[in-house]
Symmetry: C2
């Protein structure tokens, strides 16, 4: 690593660049990315899904969020790159840091493919009092990276109407309706999940997220899909609503066809390089939130029924896993064994095509790393004491799942018991809320956090994120989080509910279910919505401190466990049923 | 009124204006305004503190928020002006409405003194797909309004250091420190409370808010106060830190002196006309939140001690009022009598200079109008049954107060009892929260709302607003509300806690105390803050449904009432003490 830092510093000195930014993204601002794009990981050694490196001639820093503080400290150790803890008091953003550390006239370099228009605008604003030149034509790391992986080539497949509920033609109509409201005559998106959703196509370009590297342009009469022609060759007939053009031809297409258009785009999802391809006489209309993103987030009734079914299958796989894990102490189980076991159990379920993210199987203090990823050889063996956390999810043709359970594998301390109960109290308070139409996730976040805050603890993450439908396991635009977000929670939206407590060197606890927003009632005060929990898996009642629960909470939990048994038991064998009966009995 | 609407339509037809906007503000974006500026009230008859009228050749509408829906419906009846309920589903903003109702090329007129830069930018954005001309040089209503009141002339007075805790010189230093961070060399503000706070001046230009019509410009070395010289003549010596110039000379001053400057201004607080006075080669830096506003919101230790003292005096006045009100049934008491009585009792307290807003004394169904204002002659007589709501506050040299109590004046229904208890539950949940550093008010709002939402009810207002120090009774930039607001709650901030339930034609309930943000504790998870309730007045325990309260809530209430007695009784006579002892006894 020290060699790479030195080599990059030499390269930027030659190019007269004072600071080089490595954002760790792909050209589509995807959360998970193909190996080809993992230049930040290659360069810094940091494996988290979110983080940005800045290198100057004498300084180097990584900016990442609370999920990765502990992990980043470990992975950056000895690299010469300092950790900047984003959103912590007193920690500057990388833009403000550059403003403080660069001379009044300076040059900043980055690969223009992997920084979005809005990211770039924010950067320019932070540096507005200086005279900064930007060089973003070249991928300097690409020049250094000799054994760089190639772009993925696996074929795409068509996502059938019995799963999606709506045809591409339906979806294009909805998009065009929204375009009309904005008086737009062209729509550009580079977001892979938006494209996959619109054209009902799935693929294998990115681990855990079944999307295809592509661009999409929609006009009032036509739609153009820019994708590797070999990947989509077999499903051309099913993509009849769109014209298929080569992946890289989007730049030239925009340049030729966007002139004079009122073009809608999401500055957070379009790269600086792609934006430069738009002719200057195009009237660009920024979407603060992507139209397709908003449409996609509200699941249709077919998707909802499919989702519910996928979660039952996932629950069945999880019950089998948990029963298997009850053998801890009688045989050697390592964290990576748990990852393998759940993947295997899940693939036995109908329509399962894989995991929706790398399973977090974290024993003891490892669970304090919120997004811990065990490694073969170095990971922990599960001992018959304390807590084990498993956060896992699958990609099914009929839904994307994400569930976390923390449970005792042996004796637990009073502190663990109390922390586990506080997390569950928050989880239940959020699940049980009724709320007025128009409510946003930032308003509800505190419900899950309150019992934890009252005990002077906190978790450094949001409480909930959306889920794609056989797409990304983290999907916007809504969420339940302290971050300001103007997206209203709307019936049909799906969101996780995952408060936690993480204590470095001690333990980590998280209880995660998935919520569906539903209509509750309407009266003189307005329309009220509530949540239906659609994920089913037993919660470990053996480690509850019952004295901390109200009667209402106890009855909520008993009712949830009754549902868990009723929904999952038809798909279990006799011994599994007996195990589940015991795990779901009333307290 | 029909005459005025006709006259304005004739005027705009002559001027070739297609739509005329009447925002009901003054040139300083004040919440309460001098009579001179009340053109929207004069024109439409609507008396609410917030509302905007738009008139076209065949349509006319008033946009106002949830506080005023019922009142606006009554006051607009028969005027030909339709009510648009802001923030309700399906109701367009006035900008969107103009976009829908105007031709592709049209002219919009307004008085450029009373629309802010940001309001105007929002409007232009809403209308960006049309070719709109704007005429804002003329005040058309001024041309029609023959008996318009004159601008106020009462003298200003100096606010002594024993009250303010900081001198003007201290405050200018803090402002200049923030200016340096923005690399600004000039700061412009038109906000009357910001100016009053900075120069430690108070006045009598606006009812209920002791400010002086003025502008303030600050540079690295100087400060210029633009105010009527006669008003400030007597305190010139005490305003030695600022150069005093005539009120109207600010336009010329800016024009001459702002050229080439990096000028900080708040586009929400600077009018279109004032902005136009800034030379085009000035580098204008928009503040999303005013620097002075942020400094002013965090009270210093002297202000906090003074505030606490002012609230004790206010509590004493309120106890006297409530005891007097226990005579309902034995003598005639009208709503306006209550307004007069509390003003009188308050003025008996040391350093009281008046009311901080028109007291809301609302009996029975009148209390469903959230900001009801009783009128002599037409207001209700308080009968010995049901609920009475009193929302009142004072201006003291040592603080600005705002407290609401709802109490039984006779038998109450079970529905009133339940609603009253739910409101109190929300009130106590907010008052008792501990929260992490960095938390914003939008995150906490639901705590007060949750018990009310669970019963499928809501209140159409925020839960809490800041309070000025002998200044505006509603003060930003923070608040506790469903509206997105990025201002973090910081130790030293003051905020009301006022959930409610309002049922048209039935009753209105609100319980309002005032919270001070304090440091609670610090640990590995971060710094935690909590609230100290600093307003003291008995809450009517006779109308509680005790079965709805948890043990924790009951002990919170008993503890609050013990404090009410301990803090207020030293200032009461024997019979008042006895009355209060009874009203604050444990339940």
């Amino acid at each position: 690593m020290a060699n790479k830092l030195g080599a990059l510093r030499q390269l930027i000195a030659e190019k007269k660049i004072d600071a080089y930014i490595i954002p760790g993204s792909d050209a589509h601002q995807s959360e998970y990315i193909a190996d080809y794009w993992k230049s930040r990981h290659w360069f810094s050694g940091f494996t988290g899904s979110s983080g940005l490196v800045v290198v100057t001639k004498d300084k180097a820093g990584l900016w990442t969020d609370g999920r990765y503080f502990i992990q980043a400290e470990q992975e950056l150790s000895g690299t010469g790159i300092s950790l900047f803890k984003m959103n912590e008091p007193g920690v500057p953003t990388y833009g403000k840091w550059l403003d403080e550390n660069l001379a009044a006239e300076a040059t900043i370099g980055f690969d223009g493919r992997v920084i979005s228009v809005s990211e770039f605008e924010g950067l320019k604003k932070d540096l507005s009092s200086k005279e900064i030149s930007y060089k973003y034509e070249e991928d300097l790391l690409g020049n250094m990276w000799e054994d760089r992986p190639t772009m993925p080539t696996a074929p795409a497949f068509f996502h059938q109407a019995k799963f999606t509920g709506k045809t591409t033609s339906d979806k294009l109509s909805s998009i065009r309706e929204e375009m009309e409201k904005e008086r737009a005559d062209m729509y550009l998106t580079a977001a892979l999940d938006e494209i996959a959703w619109t054209v009902n196509m799935r693929g294998n370009d990115i681990p855990n997220t079944p999307v295809v590297y592509s661009y999409l342009i929609i006009t009032a009469s036509d739609a153009y899909l820019f994708a590797d022609e070999q990947k989509v060759a077999a499903i051309k007939g099913e993509l009849a609503d769109v014209t298929i053009l080569p992946y890289d031809s989007v730049f030239e297409f925009l340049n030729k066809n966007a002139a004079g258009r009122r073009l809608l785009y999401n500055p957070g999802g379009v790269s600086v390089r792609l934006f430069e391809a738009i002719p200057s006489d195009s009237k660009n209309i920024k979407m603060s939130t992507s139209i397709i993103g908003k449409l996609k987030a509200v699941k249709n009734s077919t998707e909802i029924e499919n989702f519910k079914n996928a979660f039952i299958k996932e629950g069945v796989a999880l019950v089998k896993l948990l029963k298997w894990l009850s053998e801890v102490g009688t045989k050697d189980i390592f964290e990576t064994d748990i990852q393998a076991k759940i993947s295997e159990l899940r693939l036995e379920q109908e329509h399962c095509i894989g995991d929706s993210f790398t399973t977090i199987a974290a024993y003891g203090e490892n669970a304090a790393l919120m997004h811990y990823s065990p490694k073969e050889g170095s990971c922990a063996k599960v001992l018959p004491e304390g807590l084990l956390l498993v956060d896992t999810g699958g990609q099914y043709l009929d839904g994307t799942t994400d569930i976390t359970r923390t449970f005792a594998v042996g004796p637990v301390t009073d502190e663990m018991r109390r922390d586990f109960t506080l997390v569950l109290k928050g989880h239940m308070a959020l699940a049980g809320i009724k709320f007025l139409e128009g409510t946003t996730g930032v308003q509800l976040d505190v419900l899950a956090r309150q019992p934890i805050w009252q005990a002077a603890m906190d978790y450094r993450s949001g409480t909930g994120h959306g889920l794609g439908f056989c797409l990304g396991v983290h999907e916007g635009p809504h969420g339940i989080s302290p971050r300001l977000n103007s997206i209203k929670l709307t019936p049909g939206m799906i969101c996780t509910n995952e408060p936690g407590i993480y204590k470095a060197g001690r333990h980590g606890i998280r209880t995660e279910n998935v919520l569906l927003v539903k209509e509750a009632e309407k009266n003189e005060f307005g329309a009220f919505f509530d949540f239906e929990t659609i994920s089913f898996c037993p919660i470990d009642t053996a480690i509850l401190d019952k004295a901390l629960l109200s009667d209402e909470e106890i009855s909520y939990l008993n009712n949830y466990h009754k549902q868990v048994y009723d929904k999952l038991s038809p798909f279990l064998d006799a011994s599994e049923k007996e195990w589940l009966k015991n795990k779901t009995k009333s307290i």
